[in-house]
């Protein structure tokens, strides 16, 4: 299937919203892929970090918003520390999560944690993951 790139407002709006939320210039990315090369979770992802940012550049919101990658980012900032253009990919990921359908299902909500697990893990992990992955 051929992807249609329409120079319409919708695409621009998506890109601008991501830039506004993340505070990052996604067009600074020249697709060197270093973020993906060092990402500890890349092997689990359906789209690599550099592909996410590429799709944002192209304004292809749907492809980005349905990617599993958004919920595999551990915010470890390895990509940020090595990006030659100084883009904080974790911020871009968070910006995309931010504009997911607010009525949609939580990617990871409190219901998915068994009481036993909740008893065992450090508190910080629960606070952290709900902050990241639920609305």
């Amino acid at each position: 299937m051929r992807v249609k790139l329409k120079a319409g407002r919708d695409q621009r709006k998506f890109i601008e919203r991501i830039e506004e939320l993340s505070g990052e210039n996604v067009f600074a990315c020249y697709q060197c892929g270093r973020c993906s090369a060092g990402c500890p979770m890349a092997s689990e992802m359906d789209l690599l970090p550099n592909q996410i940012i590429r799709l944002v550049q192209m304004g292809l919101a749907e492809d980005v918003l349905r990617s599993k990658t958004l919920f595999l980012c551990a915010s470890c900032f390895t990509c940020e520390s090595r990006c030659p253009k100084g883009i904080d990919m974790a911020r871009v990921m968070e910006a995309v999560r931010h504009i997911l359908d607010p009525k949609g299902k939580d990617a990871f909500g409190p219901g998915e944690i068994s009481p036993e697990l909740a008893q065992e893990v450090p508190q910080q992990v629960l606070v952290a993951i709900f902050r990241k992955f639920s609305k």
Binding site: C32, G33, S36, A37, G38, Q51, R82, P84, K85
Partner: protein, 658 residues
């Protein structure tokens, strides 16, 4: 020098150009010419369709003669375009060229406004102001000065050698200064050169020999520029001669000294991959062909402490008492060809260049490839001498990184990496060469064909992605990358990694540019006078740029720039005398109170306070005419020629008074 125009009213001619419809379409040119007829000083005024055309110029010439005009205002396009044209026309008519004024009514009027009435009104004001200025213009003659036809070339790499040879072949003398013990620069360290795979030493050594034998080239190795004074055509240079402790005229290269020397140190020529003695010859073809004693590593320049080399030297060439000396040279032009260095691997902690012996930079790999290198041209890795069966090449190591390293492209790495990978595959036919790249840039004659050859014939695997991390596991280096084309994360086990480190300014160049008072860009590369139209000159007159000191470039480009710099030097030396714009700021002795404010304003040290007379004196040839001093002078003693305060006030009145 300046013939004061007499006090009587000048006879000004005004010529208003239509420039086809470019001006006349918006500005009522006839009205402009007509309105100004009655202005004070205007003797003649007319308009014409193209003033810059031959008939237009002829009209100006004829009118000057007929009407005895002594001042001209041409209302036309920007003075950057035709000021020269009309000055030449004035000269042909016997009028001093500095009596020409250009009123810009095109770029700064007709082209930027649409309201005809307002644009015409504005044109009238512009022209009026120039008439007011023309009334007070003086006849001026360019300042003339002799030129010393002798050049200084700083740097003995391929760019310096080429520039020196070209200038010397034009018939002028050259002083070539090189801080290290031999000429040859970085190019002599290279193995083969892209895209032809010529042996670098084989093509450079003849040039080195030619330089050393040239009757008009004075070769000063182990020398450094200490200071420079004077101005274009007339520089005085103080050059520091660093002691070599070996008399190069006596040394016969018998190598006995080297055999007995007990001090072993890393060899710079082989990038520290092998060792040399404290008394050494940098490389077999070094020029001058002499041993050099490295005082820093010598046991003490003292026969009591060691003295072994001195004992065995039959020629008595070794002298521990040599001292630093200053030599002086007079030159008319300076070519700066100080080359480059590689960005330090330490800056890229994630690549482990400082930690792992088998992670090397491009120049180290050149030495490993070179037949004269530490392994005699056999492909071996530094840590254990094993033949590497897999090498990963990492492009853009430090380059194109706006965040932490260097934002620019180092330009030559794409090509030399292709060469490295190719050479490696030739030496180790069953070896795997993998190149990580972001973009491959092969703009250059036969460059892309060369890169394609590496891919198609030598089966070098190019992976599009930047390496994130390199680390050691056992005796393997693990390289983490990604192939952005397939979207796969990639891990390569390598025996060796070559980092194409970014090219940076040569170490120490920042001190040199301060001495020469020439400017650099923010990365420390020398700045050219104009990025397109004056690419081999510095803004500071008399200084020329060649090679990587100016920015990353390959050998052919370096040689071309060196030859261009030499041609520019020839250009300068071909002039009988140098002409300098006369619109400078002299001092009126009678008004000068000797406060010295203007002296502090001058960026060129053109102004000095004469303590005996209590007034400021101006070295006219040094004055560039910026006028900062004129604006600062409290007494009005410093007036810029043909832009005096009176002229400025008159112009303001003409422009603003309704």
């Amino acid at each position: 020098m300046t013939a004061k125009t007499e006090n009587k009213e000048k006879r000004i001619g005004l010529f208003v150009c239509h420039c086809g419809v470019n001006i006349a379409g918006v500005v009522d040119v006839e009205k402009v010419a007509q309105v100004l007829t009655d202005s004070p000083g205007v003797t003649f005024s007319t308009d014409y369709v193209y003033m810059c055309s031959d008939p237009g110029q002829q009209m100006i010439i004829d009118t000057i003669k007929e009407k005895h005009l002594d001042g001209i205002v041409v209302a036309a396009c920007s003075p950057t375009l035709h000021e020269k044209t009309f000055r030449e026309a004035a000269r042909l008519a016997g009028l001093n060229p500095y009596q020409i004024e250009i009123a810009n009514i095109r770029e700064q009027d007709s082209w930027v406004h649409t309201d005809k009435e307002k644009a015409t009104k504005k044109a009238v004001k512009i022209v009026k102001s120039h008439v007011a200025k023309a009334r007070q213009n003086e006849n001026l003659d360019p300042i003339r000065v002799d030129v010393t036809r002798r050049a200084l070339v700083i740097g003995g790499g391929v760019s310096g050698l080429q520039a020196a040879l070209d200038i010397a072949d034009q018939g002028c003398e050259v002083v070539l200064v090189e801080r290290s013990p031999s000429i040859g620069g970085k190019m002599i360290q290279l193995s083969e050169t892209f895209p032809t795979l010529d042996c670098s030493q084989c093509i450079l050594t003849p040039k080195m020999v030619e330089v050393s034998r040239h009757p008009r080239i004075k070769l000063l190795t182990c020398h450094e520029v200490d200071s420079i004074s004077g101005f274009v055509g007339n520089f005085k240079v103080r050059i520091k001669k660093k002691p070599r402790y070996v008399d190069e005229t006596l040394c016969n290269l018998c190598a006995e000294c080297e055999k007995v020397c007990p001090q072993v140190v890393p060899d710079e020529f082989n990038m520290g991959l092998s060792f040399r003695k404290a008394i050494y010859m940098p490389f077999p073809q070094a020029i001058p062909g002499t041993y050099t004693l490295d005082a820093e590593h010598c046991l003490g320049l003292n026969p009591v402490r060691c003295g072994k080399c001195k004992d065995v030297c039959d020629k008595k060439a070794i002298d521990y008492d040599m001292k630093e000396k200053i030599v002086e040279e007079e030159v008319g032009a300076v070519v700066v060809a100080t080359g480059y260095d590689l960005y330090t691997m330490q800056a890229l902690g994630e690549y482990g260049g400082e930690k792992y012996e088998d992670v090397v930079n491009g120049l180290e790999f050149e030495r490993i490839l070179s037949a004269s290198g530490p392994t005699g041209g056999v492909m071996r890795r530094p840590s254990d001498g094993k033949v590497p069966k897999s090498i990963v090449f990492v492009q853009c190591s430090g380059s194109r990184d706006t965040e932490k390293h260097l934002p620019y492209c180092s330009k030559i790495c794409c090509m030399y990496t292709a060469k490295h990978a190719m050479m490696y595959r030739h030496r180790v036919p069953d070896g795997q060469a993998t190149v990580f790249y972001i973009d491959v840039r092969t703009g250059g004659k036969s460059f892309d064909e060369f890169y394609m050859r590496a891919v198609e014939e030598d089966k070098v695997l190019y992976i599009r992605g930047k390496v994130s991390k390199i680390f050691k596991e056992g005796d393997k280096l693990i390289v983490w990358g990604v192939d952005t084309l397939t979207g796969k994360k990639v891990e390569v086990e390598a025996d060796m990694v070559v980092l194409a480190m970014a090219i940076v300014k040569a170490d120490g160049v920042q001190n040199l540019v301060k001495k020469l008072k020439i400017s650099t860009d923010i990365h420390g590369f020398l700045a050219e006078a104009h990025p397109k139209l004056r690419p081999v000159e510095s803004l500071n007159a008399g200084f020329y740029l060649a090679g990587c000191a100016h920015g990353p470039k390959d050998i052919p480009e370096t040689v071309a720039q060196a030859s261009a710099a030499a041609a520019k030097v020839g250009d300068l030396f071909a002039q009988k005398e140098l002409l300098h714009e006369p619109t400078i700021v002299p001092v009126n002795d009678e008004l000068c109170s000797g406060c010295g404010i203007c002296v502090t304003m001058c960026p060129y040290a053109a102004r000095t306070l004469d303590p005996a007379r209590g007034v400021v004196v101006v070295k006219e040839i040094l004055c560039e005419g910026c006028g900062a001093c004129a604006a600062a002078c409290p007494s009005g003693a410093a007036q810029q020629r043909n832009q005096t305060d009176d002229q400025i006030f008159s112009m303001l009145r003409a422009m603003l008074r309704e």
